[in-house]
Chain length 379, copies 2
């Protein structure tokens, strides 16, 4: 007998759908979960989709499923001689995030293949800010109805994101809850675990006057501020299928661009400087924009000055501006084209930029650190 | 300036509620997220609730929040001399689960103080099956509207569960999504991480004929099968406030009983046998009941025989039986009073039972392992 995957499909076993309820309500004396009209083939297809997606992300440290099957197992250290780079004082790093109402745009556009990348990105980009190496990822998918054909792309996207981030998709949960989610709706949450050597933790405490801010371009709106985006689309009667002037693609495509995953670029810099501690802080720019997210990374005796002329926000933000969101508001809510910021020692700035370019990034000098009180200023 | 908690309240920054939309729709030329009428005091109250709850779970291995604040940090090893019991070949264990539609019963009963315990229980009980020590927990709370007074109990319950499980509440995400969740509704997902020494992994591969099944009582329905429970309540017009014959408490209270957390009992046994490997498998009995969950833990050359007379199912299952769910159906969907099963070497069965009793449990001999084909039989 094949062991069930640790990926459990909870609700398929005992959901009584409303439809069943109304058509069969009092006709039968006994109540069984078979009344729910569960599609066994759907379940089988779903499990094989998930298992294929998970396997595509596995590295040598993932344990195979024979181990009981109640949880996913991941070796912290490499046993293989070739890879030996084990941790002396490992500090585990964990974070969780969802993709907010970007799911609703994906559902409306009937394009679910990249929302899983967004989910992984939102988590691993947070994870790497302290210098951590992402290890594994788990996801929680809550749906109105388990429709494997429809939801397949979501999981394939999650696996895609995991491969980009170099982490294993170790497990997940699919919950079918017709009474909580509307027809066609779903929600998606993710969870990432990484590890960092104790004396290599990057926590902003070493940030000093003179340090340089290096910006990494975002791919667009990423996964924050979609309630505002959707309100603008609705109020201004924006059409997702229309290619507005300057956008170069349909509004829907521009809004659905997957969140950039910065793991390989940041890891490349960390690998290039294994002894010198050239990075003093990193910030993933999410809800709250540059101002709030950079402030998280600063010590209380420094300010960060951001040069607005140092980069050009992507056209999707111009569209939002034209539709009535003020420039100040845009900067408060969105990344405005800067998805990730590294704060580095000035004498290493050029070296870090080169390492980032070699990793395929297009970094730019975003600003500088001065003495101050933990604030972020724009100039 | 106080650093923001890693617990981020994403949506409060840029949600435009429907109400705002209809009353202010076209009246203003520019659109800002202040239009959403965000209650800043609610936000502040929420952050302080969360931070208090998190701190109540912290042990010496949790890093304080000064570290950047994009993710939670947790030392794998103890540096403190007193606690030194570090891992030589640590294997990380991760799992995720939700509480299904038990949330809807909690919402209907207006009793949110224990659903967080359920959430932690569903995850950590899975985690410990392979012999792992729970380390930390994160939760994802998705709501229609962030109402701190209303949701406070949920987080306090999560922290309560974490303390029972001896793990730290390392972080979480609160997402306000009025367009995805109905008024008053919310969903809850959790993620747990633990660690186990490589050569102490319990994976069922050593299970052999003659091994003994030890059952640990459940507290009731736990957190599986609630779609069926709710269908029965609805069809048979069950009243949550009524104390039915034999229940000894209201139906609602019986259904909301928090899922039992087996961590301290299982850890006590593992601590009592540090050299001998007396436990060959463990199973958390969730959706699918004893049959399916025990089968997960069995190797393909053994059967498990469960003696139905060895325990008495709690009265809530009698109520479901009386309302029309067949006995066979009940056993397929619910734990029926057995929440956790340990499979142990026969000569250590009495010792393990004693250790469990000392830890406050009421274990019973549930059955035995025979040669077979990976099946679970009832007798």
């Amino acid at each position: 007998m094949a062991k069930p995957s640790i990926w459990r499909i909870k609700a398929q076993l005992f959901v009584l759908t409303k439809q069943t309820y109304t058509t069969r309500a009092m006709a039968k004396a006994s109540i069984t979960y078979k009344d729910s009209g569960v599609d066994v083939h759907a379940n089988t297809r779903w499990v094989s989709t998930i298992e294929g997606a998970m396997r595509s992300t596995y590295g040598p440290r993932v344990f195979s499923n024979r181990h009981g099957g109640f949880a996913g197992l991941f070796r912290l250290d490499y046993d293989e001689q070739l890879f030996r780079r084990n941790y002396k004082r490992p500090v585990l790093v964990g974070c969780t995030d969802g993709v907010g109402t970007k799911v609703l745009i994906a559902i409306e556009m009937k394009k679910l293949s990249t929302i899983g990348i967004d989910l992984v990105a939102m988590n691993v980009n947070d994870l790497i800010c302290c210098g951590a190496e992402p290890l594994f990822f788990l996801d929680y998918l809550a749906v109105n109805k388990l429709d494997p054909k429809h939801l397949r792309d979501v999981i394939i996207g999650v696996a895609d994101g995991c491969r980009q981030a170099g982490c294993a998709l170790l497990g997940g949960e699919t919950a079918e809850m017709p009474d909580l989610y509307r027809r066609g709706d779903f929600d998606l949450a993710g969870f990432a675990v990484g590890v960092v050597e104790h004396n290599r933790i990057i926590d902003g405490s070493r940030v000093a006057s003179g340090d340089v801010l290096i910006g990494l371009p975002s791919s667009g709106v990423h996964s924050n501020g979609y309630s505002l985006v959707r309100a603008v689309v609705k109020r201004r009667r924006g059409q997702l299928s229309r290619t507005y002037d300057g956008l170069g693609e349909s509004l829907g495509d521009a809004l659905l661009r997957p969140t950039k995953i910065y793991v390989s670029a940041v890891r490349a810099v960390l690998q290039a400087y294994r002894v010198k501690r050239v990075i003093t802080a990193m910030a993933h720019i999410t809800g709250g924009g540059l101002k709030e997210n950079l402030a998280r990374a600063l010590p209380s005796n420094c300010d960060a000055t951001v040069l607005r002329s140092s980069w050009q926000p992507p056209p999707v933000f111009d569209w939002l501006r034209q539709k009535g969101v003020s420039r100040a508001e845009l900067f408060k809510v969105f990344n405005m084209g800067v998805g990730f910021v590294m704060i580095v020692r000035p004498r290493f700035a050029n070296g870090v930029m080169r390492a980032l370019r070699r990793a395929g990034e297009e970094p730019f000098l975003l600003g500088q650190i001065t003495r101050g009180g933990g604030r972020v200023r724009f100039r």
